[in-house]
Symmetry: C4
Subunit: 256 residues, 4 copies
């Protein structure tokens, strides 16, 4: 009958926040399973993260590799909470050492809500050969004008190293880490996952074409068309139905 | 006892027409599922179309991509009707934007009853490298003397752009669209599907051979032999049993 | 009580012969299923044959391709009998047109009991690029000093054309047919099957190596060691257990 | 009540030893199944061995290839015992001819507890082209500065030939045998298995990159980081969960 007391309001707000975070955890765990099933981090593994909206907190994978577990069964309890400085706030498992790769990108880019660090084969090979991946084919437009390569090839396990990745990424969505792997960033968990796949598919196509002759990138007109308005939204929306099916647990569609 | 009245004749004719169109829809839906299962349009998807014989109407895929659906479950309700000018006549889902790729080929080529637009990997790579696919191996003869490449790399979503594809195809059966995909045409739904697969297999073989040395195309005598008489019929007939099995729904053989 | 009359002996001999031929048919049908499952003749298909010991009769695949059937379900009824001149003696289905490829090799080579005509991808690519497959790796020794390439690229559907293949093969076990496929021969049905796989695996390895640097063939000492005595028998015997499992029907081991 | 007699102590010691050896046999059999499932020795097969700690005895695969058996079902009874001189001590099946490859490495390297001889495709191709595999990507650090190639291409079936492999390996963990395969060594059965996979994955990545441009190896700093302390342990521990799942029998995790 009466308006809720302040304490009640706080309770409801807390309940809502916890529901939202649980939902984010579910989506983030799912994306780990999908990236594993899709071969984006063959056994050397990787990790994805998600910013909790409106906070300086970030959900990230715990260091479950240490127990010899494969990433194909990541669940919500494997996701822990850190702040943007990398401090471990919640969760049973220590966050992954390379969390600074994720956090420094998020600090520099308020638009980035999710980061994926993968070790996809073809993209990694471009780093080994020091050749920049060009925007080619249907999935390449978002990688124009080309994907930069971090020459430093060690673990990204300090804030300073994280900033090297963040600086090189600039306003782009992908960086190749020489002899190591890739980092991609996007505005949602699912879109970061799609970007990781798109980078590998683009690298693969570039690689195939490079053995036939000089590679010709997508025209500027087409790149701009893909990156704006309805086509940008479609670029990601059309792909999710496909990748969601890779989840070994349920193949259910994108969580609302 | 009496001859059917004019109204009855009309009714029977309408029934027959609707049965034929339903059969075409079934075959067209099936071919979408087969091309998806066979990897001819990895996640960026594609579409196939079929002319309704004796009319200016064309069956084509609705824009089901917009709902995030994968093409591995296309059914008859996902197929809509347009006329050769691209106007949406029947069906619940808006026809795909790139319908003009299909329609302009059909307008220019009365012999073409079906068109497929795919994004097959190796064929697309030839466009990226600006190298023409040559007729090589067992499946290549229909692509002689070589497959032209459309330099324009944007969506084929207007009649003008559709005519660019149609003009380049000429009397051939295939065009590579730079940084985009391919368009193939044939005299039936199943044969257009087979042509899409044959183009990718030919591109793959050309690609493998090109890394060993200069590619030598099929002799003129053999090309002509494949393109005439019994061997032309066999070229398609022998292949259908194989591809029909890719259909995740039933693997049933070619519809009569 | 009495010794069997002449008529009885004839009856027993005929029974034995028919049992032997049925056994050969079973083995030959099985090898068709295995070669199909192993990808040795992608949809353009192929065929294998077997000489009936002590006769001028040969078991060979009927032209079941004409019905759109895939070769993954070949059974004994799909195998027909021809003589070495190519005349159709028994069976419901017309023998394949290219039977002369098999028969001319058998006429020239009494040691050859079985021939396989396949369209395996990598071996065919060597014909397209006009590069001879060299004996490399574990499976290559039997292909030394190198695999010849028939420049003529048309169907092998006459005795004259069959002799072109036979002449080129000489005392070897394999020929690449430019822009067409391969022919291999051996002393049993199973060994011809193994030879077809070994040729493709050797071509694949040669192809991978050729992109790193000049290909170095197996030493003469090792080639001779593989081709004589116990190691020659082992070359084939060790492999059969592996390939027999590809049979979609039973995976049973080598028939005695 | 009384302390066990000497005979009882011997009995217990023997029981413990037999339990340990059975456990080693189980792990060694499992690794054969995993290497087969992972494609490390396509049909030409291979073998793994394990030193029995504190003895000069070695567990090694029996020559089950001779019966045409595939290695995907190796069980404890297929493992036999030899001494470091290659003499057959226990087991129903004759040990493999190439046991000297294993034994000479173990004689020269007390730290080596397990050896794998495989015929993995990409690593073998580097031998065919006489190009040394470089340490690249996430799995390559243990192969620095590069993997030597044994020019001798025959069977390693004598102690002298085994010493050629052992001498070339030196303090490293891998050797490529030209036109033959590879030999890898490590401090446990599971780590030798992981090393065999890592060598093939590194060769594959090197091969992909080599077609884009000159291959750049991992920096010395990163190599040293991977080879020392916690990261060295993690290099193997993180991988085992992944490979253990390849076992067709159970997918159970690393035996304690």
């Amino acid at each position: 009958m009466n308006a809720p007391t302040g304490r009640m309001t706080d309770f409801i707000r807390k309940q809502t926040y916890e529901t939202e975070v649980l939902q984010l955890r579910r989506r983030l765990a799912k994306v780990h399973r999908i990236l594993t099933a899709g071969g984006m981090w063959p056994l050397t593994k990787g990790h994805a993260s998600a910013r909790i909206p409106g906070t300086d907190k970030v959900l990230i994978l715990g260091h479950i590799h240490a127990t010899g577990r494969s990433l194909d069964q990541v669940d919500v309890d494997d996701i822990v909470v850190v702040n943007l400085e990398g401090e471990w706030l919640e969760g049973e498992i220590e966050p992954v050492d390379e969390r600074y790769l994720h956090l420094e990108i998020m600090k520099a880019r308020p638009d980035v809500m999710s980061v994926v660090h993968a070790h996809s084969t073809y993209a990694t090979a471009f780093g080994v050969a020091d050749v920049n991946i060009l925007p080619v084919g249907n999935r390449g437009a978002i990688f124009g004008p080309s994907v930069p390569i971090l020459q430093f090839d060690r673990q990204i396990d300090t804030p300073e190293r994280g900033r090297m990745v963040s600086d090189l990424m600039g306003k782009g969505c992908a960086v190749v880490l020489k002899n190591h792997g890739v980092a991609v960033a996007s505005d949602s968990i699912e879109n970061a996952c799609i970007t990781a796949f798109a980078l590998e598919e683009t690298a693969h196509l570039h690689w195939i074409a490079a053995q036939l002759g000089p590679v010709q990138r997508i025209s500027t007109g087409e790149v701009q068309s893909v990156l704006t308005g309805a086509r940008k939204a479609e670029f990601f929306a059309h792909a999710w139905g496909h990748y969601a099916k890779l989840d070994p647990w349920d193949g259910m569609n994108r969580p609302v």
